[in-house]
Amino acid sequence: MGTSLDIKIKRANKVYHAGEVLSGVVVISGKDSIQHQGVSLTVEGSVNLQLSAKSVGVFEAFYNSVKPIQIINSTIEMVKPGKFPSGKTEIPFEFPLHVKGNKVLYETYHGVFVNIQYTLRCDMRRSLLAKDLTKTCEFIVHSAPQKGKLTPSPVDFTITPETLQNVKERALLPKFLIRGHLNSTNCVITQPLTGELVVESSEAAIKSIELQLVRVETCGCAEGYARDATEIQNIQIADGDVCRSLSVPIYMVFPRLFTCPTLETTNFKVEFEVNIVVLLHADHLITENFPLKLCRM
């Protein structure tokens, strides 16, 4: 086994905020002493936008992917060319997370058409005979907590055959009455989405009730913009024919990385919605949509 290069970030959860100092150590280990042409460390952060094939044609999607938007990119030379002794060498580093100009450190977000990612890369340049060594490591940026108090915005809802839109033959639908409420559609991202749902009555047996968390990503480009809604996760809250008029809790934890505070910039937007999906035994699918506003407190 030859030489190995590793980055250890100090914080176990790898979460940093703008203005904080990203610190850790680069660990170099090898059996023999290591000759090198210098070690450098790079912090990169960018927003990658992708146009979906649905919004623009296949070819455009392929060629016209929008250029990544760079948020941060800086390199420091850690070690001048020289030699590491055999064994393990730890080199501590500190990186202040500052952005230039009016750029903002958006919160890390892994989506389909929008990706906001931050990486830390360590490069060891070596002579012609040996390959250069590189190690990258993702770290997570959380945006600064929102100031001020979050105003809860509870929503009550009632679902009956009458409230449904785009139904072909309303008469064929079995009768049902589902009531419920969400405690708030303004959500703190670290807190679960909560609420209650009561099946007051239903002619058909209920197969399942699910919460579908949906991201809505909008990318601006030359031809206008593309808006796409995709599922993040689907959480079942009721399985089988639940007891009538007994409230079933609505509870969903927002997954990390796949969600971020609702984001609106000139080039792109990331928004979230939740669908309450009721599946009846006759394969009827009832969906009720609620836009959410996520924020970090």
Binding site: R11, A12, N13, S52, K54, H110, V112, A205, I206, I209, Q212, D228, A229, T230, E231, I232, Q233, N234, I235, Q236, I237, A238, D239, G240, D241, V242, C243, L246, S247, V248, P249, Y251, M252, V253, P255, R256, F258, V277, L285
Partner: protein
């Protein structure tokens, strides 16, 4: 070699006896005496600290002397020491640094030992809920393409794999195992459990999680519903394993090089890495798509909340409780609740509220059981309601048990009231009865009976309700006044049960109550009823365990067997056990109880008849295949019975009982041995009653006893058993003046000796028999001393015959047992040549009075001695080889001692022989110098006694060899 003549020393036994006797000192009360009974005044187990104080636990009534046995034990016997240390163990191990406050809380959060743990229920459920139908395990291990339907349309491949990674187990394979038998299914689950452990051990945490998710998914499947409770048990085992693994893993991450986390840590002490890992698990689990796996997996790692925050568990439990509301199937949901209660009790038993919440939530969904969805499902699976409802019992019993544990009376009353209000509440009622304190139930028995009666016939089977009630009443007593009414009410219903299985399960439980509180009349009625129900169609054949348990309960309460057997239906009840093995088991139980509780010997014909019948049954079960242990057990039981039979002064009746017993129990040797001993004892009793003077009648009776023994002994197998019994019976015959019979016994014994094998089997091991033979013969000799010669046979014919047998017996070459026997014969003959024998039997003239020291008799005797001595000397000569020198020396010395003790050393030749022997013993330096010195000292001491002056001279001729 010259023949040495024998001259026995004449002895005055009386004088010797008098000179040897110690002066008798009367014992004052309170004096110490080693044989005085020891009275334990106090046992000091409490005082035992960990080091164990060495104070003696017992002291004899004499002032300060210790009982040697108890003082060895260093104060306390080891058993009570265990008991004493077991208690404080818990306090010792508790961390010392914890503050008092925390300790108080700890005590609250530990479930006491009076809480019946889940482990006890486990086996019971597995055994009870079985199926013969085919099962299937469906592990959705492939990605759920197409299955997820509409919602997946726009998901990019990358994200989807990332999300569904959790659902996958082995990429791309969907395994559905169909047509599994129950055993296959259990094996599969066990395999999964193993692969979970393997995956974990090989650091494949994600795979482990997948396995757990897939397993808990199986719990949402209610096909083959009869098996569901068992499935729950199996799968929650896996969940428990998983929960433990995760907890231990995170716990081990908290252990730094510096410090180990104490058992009761607070979240501040947990390092960030551990917290992050823990949080990761919770996030992963929160994103599990399906409700049931998400619930179960989260519940399984509930304990891990301790790493994150102090209030974590108390926030989680109510949330999980609410989450169960989303489970539509009432059976699945009640088991989910049971699991949550189980985990909750384990992790945080002080959080009672969520237990109660589970119960009340359950009541809210109770009506679902009778809803359409469930009914349809039952129709599809072809399961009837009465067999469906009991599937709820294990889960409900568990929930109820958790809630009622140390619960205040008010809560129990409230719960009961709530149950009462719901329609068709038999199921609830049953769980209340099985989980609540027995005392609580017992005091309200009449209420319960009323409620049971009101229950809907079609739902939960009533016999189960009565069974549960009966179980409670067996443990706790209902109010005095209600007792009879309770029995009447209950039995009215029980007796109407059509199905014999249902009936017997119920009756079994109620028998205990009946026995406990009522007389034989009621018990008789109950037994009669059971017989009536179980006889048609030989229904008893399927219910042996229950019937057996009824018998056990009855005999446990009726210790007086005359009462027991006067219960008319008891014996007819026994007749229901027609399968032999079961029958024998029942008989054994009865006999055990009899032996344990019968204090007085009995002649009650009812008991005798019944127990003879019982014993006969046990005896008749013995066949060639019966194990030794089993035989021993049966023999022990039968012997116990035989010993307890006594007809008092009616000896003839007693003998005829023994005759009868012999004919009944001829296959069990130990029983025959016991009978022979009993008959011998009977003969001696008779002698005692007649004060040694038999009348014509008693003499005849005694001869009958002797005859009994004489014809019984040959049927035994064990050779030493026979020999000893011959000897023993011979002694008894002699004591009863049956001289010719005694001769017959002794002759029989002598003729049996050649048959003694070289090796005999003792406790399954082959051992050489010689030492046993030696022992027997020595015993025999001392009896022969007093046996008078038969007028028609020659002088000492028994001794001669015995000597011939010994001569012909093939002895082990390497042993000197033959010579030892000859030495003993020499002793016997010396004793016989005395004017007055050492002991006599009352009313039997021994040879001393028969021959009156006749010179002819003495000459015969001496001749015999010479022959024996020649034999001994011959043997000593053959031992003059290197390897045998040691034996020669010790034999020589022992022969020397014999001559010293029994021979007349005033005779020159004998004197010379003894000196030679002394030299022989010392010749090769094999003798033990100390023994020689002691012997010499003894001779010198003896020489000072009157008539022993010649020994002084002898002592001078015996040099001591000095060791170089």
């Amino acid at each position: 070699m010259a023949v040495f003549p024998w001259h026995s020393r004449s002895r005055n036994y009386k004088a010797e006896f008098a000179s040897c006797r110690l002066e008798a000192v009367p014992l004052e009360f309170g004096d110490y005496h080693p044989l005085k009974p020891i009275t334990v005044t106090e046992s000091k187990t409490k005082k035992v600290s960990r080091k164990g104080s060495t104070s003696s636990t017992s002291s004899s009534s004499s002032s300060s002397v210790l009982d040697p046995l108890s003082s060895v034990l260093d104060g306390t016997d080891p058993l009570s020491m265990f008991a004493a240390t077991a208690d404080p163990a818990a306090t010792v191990t508790r961390p010392l640094d914890s503050s008092r406050k925390r300790r108080d809380r700890d005590e609250n959060s530990i479930v006491g030992s009076d809480f019946e743990p889940w482990a006890n229920k486990r086996g019971e459920i597995l055994a009870r809920y079985t199926t013969t139908e085919k099962l299937s395990i469906n592990l959705f291990m492939g990605s759920e393409k197409g299955k997820a339907g509409t919602v997946t349309s726009a998901m990019s491949e990358k994200v989807r794999t990332r999300l569904e990674e959790l659902d996958d187990f082995e990429e791309g394979s969907q395994k559905e195992l169909l047509n599994l038998t129950q055993q296959d299914y259990v094996n599969r689950i066990e395999e999964l459990n193993q692969s979970l452990k393997d995956a974990w051990a090989s650091d494949q945490k994600v795979k482990a999680l997948k396995i757990v998710i897939q397993c808990s998914k199986l719990l949402s499947d209610t096909s083959v519903i009869q098996f569901y409770p068992s499935k729950f048990v199996l799968i929650t085992d896996i969940l428990d394993t998983f929960g433990k693994l995760v907890y231990e893993r995170i716990f081990s991450m908290c252990v730094d090089n510096r410090s180990v986390l104490p058992d009761h840590f607070s979240p501040e002490n947990v390092n960030d890495t551990a917290k992050e890992t823990c949080l990761n698990w919770f996030f992963k689990i929160a994103s599990i798509r399906e409700l049931i796996p998400r619930f179960y997996v989260e519940a399984s790692i509930l304990k891990c909340n301790k790493f994150l925050s102090k209030t974590g568990i108390s926030e989680c439990l109510p949330r999980l409780t609410c989450m169960i509301r989303g489970i539509g199937d009432p059976l699945v949901s009640v088991y989910a609740r049971a699991y949550l209660c189980r985990v909750g009790m384990e992790v945080a038993p002080h959080l009672k509220e969520s237990l109660n919440k589970n119960f009340f939530d359950f009541l809210l969904t109770f009506k679902q059981i009778h809803g359409d969805t469930v009914q349809n499902q039952l129709v599809v699976q072809g399961v009837e309601l009465p067999s469906y409802l009991p599937l709820y019992s294990p889960a409900m019993d568990w929930i109820f048990q958790c809630i009622s544990y140390h619960a205040p009376e008010a809560l129990l009353t409230e719960m009961m009231d709530r149950c009462k209000k719901l329609g068709n509440n038999a199921l609830l009622l049953n769980s209340v009865m099985s989980a609540f304190r027995a005392e609580f139930i017992a005091t309200r028995s009449m209420d319960f009976i009323g409620m049971i009666k009101e229950c809907d016939e079609s739902g939960f089977p009533k016999h189960l309700l009565f069974r549960s009630l009966g179980l409670n009443l067996a443990l706790a007593d209902p109010p005095e006044g209600d007792r009879l009414q309770i029995l009447n009410e209950a039995w009215k219903v029980i007796t109407k049960l059509k199905n014999p299985q249902d009936y017997i399960n119920c009756a079994e439980v109620w028998v205990e109550y009946t026995c406990k509180h009522f007389t034989k009349r009621e018990v008789n009625t109950v037994l009669a009823d059971v017989i009536k129900h179980m006889t048609p169609d030989r229904a008893f054949e399927d219910s042996y365990p229950q019937l057996h348990s009824i018998i056990k309960k009855v005999i446990a309460h009726f210790h007086d067997f005359s009462v027991l057997f006067s219960v008319e239906k008891f014996l007819p009840f026994l007749d229901m056990f027609q399968k032999e093995s079961v029958r024998v088991e029942v008989c054994k139980c009865i006999m055990e109880v009899f032996i344990k509780h019968q204090q007085e010997p009995t002649k009650d014909p009812v008991i005798l008849n019944a127990l003879l019948h019982v014993c006969k049954t046990m005896h008749d079960s013995v066949n060639a295949l019966t194990l030794e242990d089993e035989k021993r057990m049966l023999a022990y039981l039968i012997n116990g019975f035989i010993k307890m039979v006594s007809f008092g002064r009616d000896f003839e009746q007693q003998l005829s009982f023994y005759v009868e017993a012999r004919s009944m129990f001829c296959n069990l040797e130990p029983v025959l041995v016991q009978l022979i001993h009993s008959v011998n004892r009977l003969a001696m009793e008779t002698r005692k009653v007649m004060k040694g003077n038999h009348s014509r009648k008693t003499a005849a009776f005694v001869r009958a006893c002797v005859a009994y023994c004489f014809i019984t002994i040959p049927s035994l197998v064990g050779i030493f058993t026979r020999l000893n019994l011959y000897l023993h019976s011979g002694q008894v015959a002699l004591a009863n003046q049956c001289l010719s019979q005694a001769d017959a016994f002794f002759k029989a014994a002598i003729s049996l000796i050649p048959e003694v094998p070289k090796m005999i089997n003792i406790d399954g091991k082959m051992r050489p028999s010689e030492s046993f033979l030696l022992e027997f013969l020595c015993n025999f000799f001392s009896t022969l001393l007093i046996v008078p010669d038969h007028p028609e046979h020659g002088v000492l014919f028994l001794v001669r015959e015995l000597l011939n047998v010994i001569q012909d017996y093939t002895w082990e070459d390497s042993s000197d047992d033959k010579i030892r026997i000859y030495t003993c014969v020499l002793h016997l003959l010396s004793a016989m040549s005395q004017e007055n024998y050492l002991y006599h039997i009352d009313k039997v003239d021994s040879n001393d009075s028969l021959y009156g020291g006749d010179s002819k008799f003495l000459a015969e005797n001496n001749k015999l001695c010479e022959t024996v001595m020649a034999q001994i000397l011959e043997h000593l000569k053959t031992l003059a080889k290197d390897e045998a020198l040691k034996r020669q020396s010790s034999l020589g010395l022992s022969f020397f001692n014999s001559i010293l003790a029994h021979g007349d050393l005033r005779n020159n030749r004998l004197n010379q022989l003894s000196v030679n022997l002394w030299h022989l013993a010392q010749r090769h330096g094999c003798a033990d110098t100390r023994t020689m010195v002691k012997t010499l000292e003894y001779i010198k001491k003896r020489s000072k006694q009157p008539d022993m002056g010649h020994l002084t001279e002898l002592a001078l001729r015996l040099p001591l060899q000095t060791r170089t």
